[in-house]
């Protein structure tokens, strides 16, 4: 493999919280040198002055849909979407068909990713068999097969006793639990946030309490068991408050927020655009503000997409009949920059940390830092690049985005995985 | 209405309108040999005040009142699809049975005859009159249907570029009949 020299960029270090102008030299899929004015014979040179060179982004929460739902996305197309979105590693949720509740499915996903994947794929195993919330999966087997975390994402482990045992066992095995917090008796047949907009639209609401009671429960169980708990897609102000309080008293809880939950409110549902249907639902302006505050003060460590692609015909139906989920990989970085960095809510290194080193540490994977000897997973961001979201340009199959037409500023322009350029936005560098 | 139009001539003034209506009132009485079973129906909108006035003149002449009704023909028009603007739907109010009556339909201007055709349909939906006659203050020609007025205030030859504007006190706060021409 040819050497790659990324020259003149602004190197963002999310650990040391700083930006320095530095070249990066890649050889054999690893980072072999950094520093100014590196000159290397025979290297392929990309000049990126004025651009930001960051560790390749890690998305802790995606749905690649394979096996089982290949009409919506595959490992091949989902990782293409990741590459276009600036992500070099993704953790994929186990709600496939069959569910990734045994080592065979984990092994299949990893093999498929190796064969067809454009970026690194880290599978997440299920907590319970079939994600039915009843019997524990063979967690040790899942870990040996390569699962990096456990989750019944898309569903809640409704039975507190099962969740309690799962946390005890997972802690012993050494895998974190990623909790989808939703009391299904409270969310019931709800399709959007319960509030003024649901009242006007006559749509059944999902109260914020449906999330908050489960966040509270899972924090208590994590506290009781000492199991590392990661709360997926925090959407409600009350959840942010609960997590903040738990962290203050030392509970091993981390949390993520999605770009749509820090950007959109339930007002977006008013036109019955099924691309706004997501679980947990888009909430109020106060909730969005609380999520932003949580991101700023560190209560929320991670920004993850919850990339949930659906085939167009699945979404082209009545709101209540549409499945939950949005495609998120290809708009995430642009939204983080536009909504959080350009507005001063997060510094560039804080934003980068929430999409690199923080999720990598939660998952225990050797990613997310640009240090000598590290895998050469690198993303280059052009902070001045402006582009309107156009799902027709998406690399993935999932075009179900509520952000169509939205102007983003600050987008990934080069994605490097293992020393190989897997995506370039438009121009030559 | 005045947009893109200029006044070409005045055909009738207030006194001219009065004389024409008085003459029509006389003719109605004469043709029907009195007022027995005669009823007047004004076509919305300017046929309505004209019917009211004719009723008054007939009463002055004969000392008897005839019943007066109001007819909106919007729902009977044959040009609903071709008009960009639709006339406001107005009330139809014929407070007497039309069966076996001698109905005199009253409109301000007779032109293509389509309004009268619609009015005939509308009346027949209300019942079966013995006879239907037609009175118009102005006949401007250019008929598109085999329709003829029984009573005409004034015949005015016009071109297709012209518009006959009847202005009445009740609807327009003035009293005259004009010919307007498109610019």
């Amino acid at each position: 493999m040819m050497k790659l020299l990324i020259k003149g960029g602004n190197l963002i270090d999310p650990v040391k919280k700083r930006a320095i102008i530095s070249d990066v030299l890649v050889d054999g899929g690893k980072i072999v040198a950094t520093g100014t004015d590196l000159e290397v014979d025979g290297a392929m040179v990309v000049n990126v002055p004025g651009k930001l060179v960051v560790p390749g982004f890690v998305d802790l929460h995606v749905h690649l849909r394979e096996p089982g739902f290949e009409a919506s996305e595959t490992i091949a197309t989902g990782t293409l979407a990741a590459a276009r979105g600036g992500f070099t590693s993704v953790a994929c949720m186990p709600n496939t068909n069959p569910v990734a509740d045994n080592s065979a499915v984990i092994i299949f996903i990893r093999a498929r990713a190796k064969e067809k994947g454009v970026v690194n794929v880290f599978p997440v195993g299920a907590i319970t068999t079939g994600s039915k919330g009843e019997e524990l999966c063979e967690m040790a087997g899942l870990k040996e097969a390569g699962a990096v975390a456990l989750s019944d994402d898309g569903r809640t482990v409704a039975n507190a006793a099962v969740m309690y045992r799962a946390m005890q066992y997972a802690r012993m095995i050494g895998l974190p639990i990623i909790a989808h917090c939703e009391d299904v008796n409270l969310s019931a047949k709800g399709v959007m946030h319960e509030g003024y907009v649901s009242t006007i639209l006559g749509l059944t609401g999902i109260p914020a309490a449906a999330e908050e009671v489960m966040v509270a429960r899972d924090i208590i169980l994590a506290e009781a068991t000492g199991c590392p708990l990661h709360i997926a897609h925090v959407s409600a102000a009350g959840s942010v408050r609960l997590i903040r309080q738990a962290r203050a008293r030392g509970v091993t809880v981390t949390a993520e927020a999605t770009p749509h939950h820090f950007t959109l409110t339930d007002q977006a549902v008013a036109g019955f655009d099924t691309n706004t249907k997501v679980n947990p639902p888009l909430r109020t302006a106060d909730d969005v503000q609380a999520v932003r505050n949580g991101l700023r003060d560190g209560t929320i460590d991670v920004i993850a997409t919850d990339h949930a692609p659906h085939a167009p015909e699945e979404k082209d139906v009545e709101y209540e009949n549409a499945p939950f989920g949005m495609a998120g990989l290809e708009t995430a970085v642009g939204l983080v920059w536009t909504e959080l960095v350009n507005t001063g809510i997060l510094t560039p290194w804080e934003a980068v940390a929430k999409m690199t080193v923080n999720p990598a540490r939660i998952l225990g994977i050797p990613k997310g830092e640009l240090v000598l000897g590290a895998d050469a997973d690198i993303t280059v961001i052009d902070p001045a690049w402006e582009e309107e979201v156009d799902p027709k340009q998406f690399a993935g199959k999932g075009r179900n985005t509520p952000f169509t037409g939205r102007l983003l500023k600050g987008l990934p322009v080069i994605t490097v995985v293992g020393g190989k350029i897997v995506f370039k936005r438009g121009v030559e560098f | 209405m005045a947009a893109g139009m200029r006044q070409k001539a005045q055909i009738l003034d207030k006194e001219g309108i009065r004389r024409a209506l008085v003459r029509i009132a006389h003719e109605i009485i004469e043709r029907n040999k009195g007022t027995e079973n005669v009823a007047l129906i004004g076509i919305q909108r300017r046929g309505v005040p004209l019917a009211g006035r004719l009723c008054g003149y007939i009463e002055e002449i004969e000392g008897k009142t005839v019943p007066v009704g109001v007819l909106d023909i919007t729902l009977y028009r044959d040009d609903l699809t071709t008009l960009s603007h639709q006339p406001l739907l107005r009330q139809t109010n014929v407070p007497f049975p039309v069966k076996d009556k001698k109905i005199v339909l009253i409109d301000d201007v007779i032109y293509t005859g389509r309004t009268v055709r619609a009015a005939l349909d509308a009346i027949i939906d209300l019942g079966r009159p013995r006879i239907i006659q037609l009175a118009a203050l102005i006949d401007r020609g250019h008929r598109e249907l085999p329709v003829r007025a029984d009573y005409v205030g004034k015949n005015v030859p016009t071109s297709g570029r012209e518009v006959v504007a009847v202005r009445l006190q009740e609807t327009d706060n003035e009293e005259r009949v004009l010919i307007l021409e498109k610019d």
Partner: protein, 313 residues
């Protein structure tokens, strides 16, 4: 004055002038509907398709009569509620409608937003005859027509809407409609059946029926469905009736000339006593009569009978 939209999806989006136009047009329509020969040719040759995904004899027959009075060809497409459950989308139906060359489509659907989804897909004018709990604009308009006919105006009236507001599209349409026309709207029902933040519409929320009825010019009772009890939204019909039912004593809390309304079908002895339903102040039967006139006006206007005062005289 002309309508500013292709479709009638709800009263939330309608302008006051448009509401007035529809109500004004319904006045002559009511005269036609009272004639011995109830027929005018205005919509001759127009095709109106009725698709009801929910059983509703009352509304469907009202629309059918309205179409017949205006000489339109009206077709009923039987659509089983099961096809909705199966996930067969409204868009499949839309393709059929387009092929039929319908001018107006009247749709009743159990899911909110279904009429809007259809409207975005077909060229025909779409009339929402009820979409889930969202809106039932033709019912709202006929209620407003009935009140205006009795009271002369809507501005300044106090309208009390009592019952299961959460699941009621009739309540939502009436809240929007009456508020736009300058009436005050008081809504009252169990806390479990009051949609959140409904007060932001401008309606005032009460949980004691006595407070809601005080000084009311119009009392609108909503039907309570027994299934809601099974869903845990209220403890029993007996307690519901005791707290939120309209009886003779409570009727006297309203103005002496207050109207009693109900979109039907009435659960006698539950939300309203038989005695009050048959009371001289009850206009429940007139609502049905007016429903035809108002739907005639709606079909006429949305099938192309927009209006302009002078130009076409």
């Amino acid at each position: 004055m002309k309508l500013k939209r292709k479709d009638l999806l709800g009263l939330a989006g309608l302008e006051t002038q448009e509401i007035n136009l529809i109500l004004d047009t319904a006045v002559p329509m009511k005269e036609i509907a009272s004639r011995p020969v109830k027929k005018v040719p205005v919509l001759r040759g127009r095709t109106i398709v009725n698709i009801f995904y929910e059983p509703s004899t009352r509304t469907r027959v009202s629309f059918e009569l309205a179409a017949k009075h205006l000489s339109a060809d009206s077709i009923n497409i039987p659509a089983a509620a099961s096809s909705v459950v199966k996930g067969e989308s409204i868009k499949d139906t839309a393709r059929t409608i387009a092929a039929m060359g319908a001018d107006v489509v009247v749709i009743r659907h159990p899911l909110a937003g279904a009429a809007q989804l259809l409207a975005g897909t077909v060229e025909a004018a779409v009339i929402n005859a009820g979409d889930g709990a969202r809106e039932h604009p033709t019912q709202g308009l006929l209620d407003m027509f009935t009140v205006r006919e009795k009271k002369g105006t809507l501005a300044g009236l106090k309208v009390a809407i009592i019952g299961d507001i959460l699941h009621s599209r009739v309540a939502r349409s009436n809240i929007w409609g009456f508020l736009k026309m300058g009436a005050q709207v008081a809504i009252c029902g169990p806390a479990t059946m009051m949609p959140p933040e409904i007060n932001r519409t401008g309606a005032v929320v009460y949980h004691r029926i006595e407070d809601a009825l005080e000084g009311a010019d119009v009392i609108m009772m909503l039907r309570i469905q027994r299934e809601r009890q099974k869903a845990g939204l209220f403890p029993s019909l007996r307690e519901y009736s005791r707290l939120f039912g309209l009886n003779r004593e409570r009727l006297f809390l309203a103005k002496p000339d207050a109207l009693v309304m109900h979109p039907g079908p009435v659960n006698r002895g539950v939300e309203i006593t038989g005695e009050v339903a048959d009371h001289p102040r009850s206009v429940i039967n007139e609502q049905v009569t007016n429903g035809v006139a108002v739907r005639m006006a709606i079909l006429y206007l949305f099938a192309g009978g927009g209006t302009d005062d002078e130009a076409a005289d």
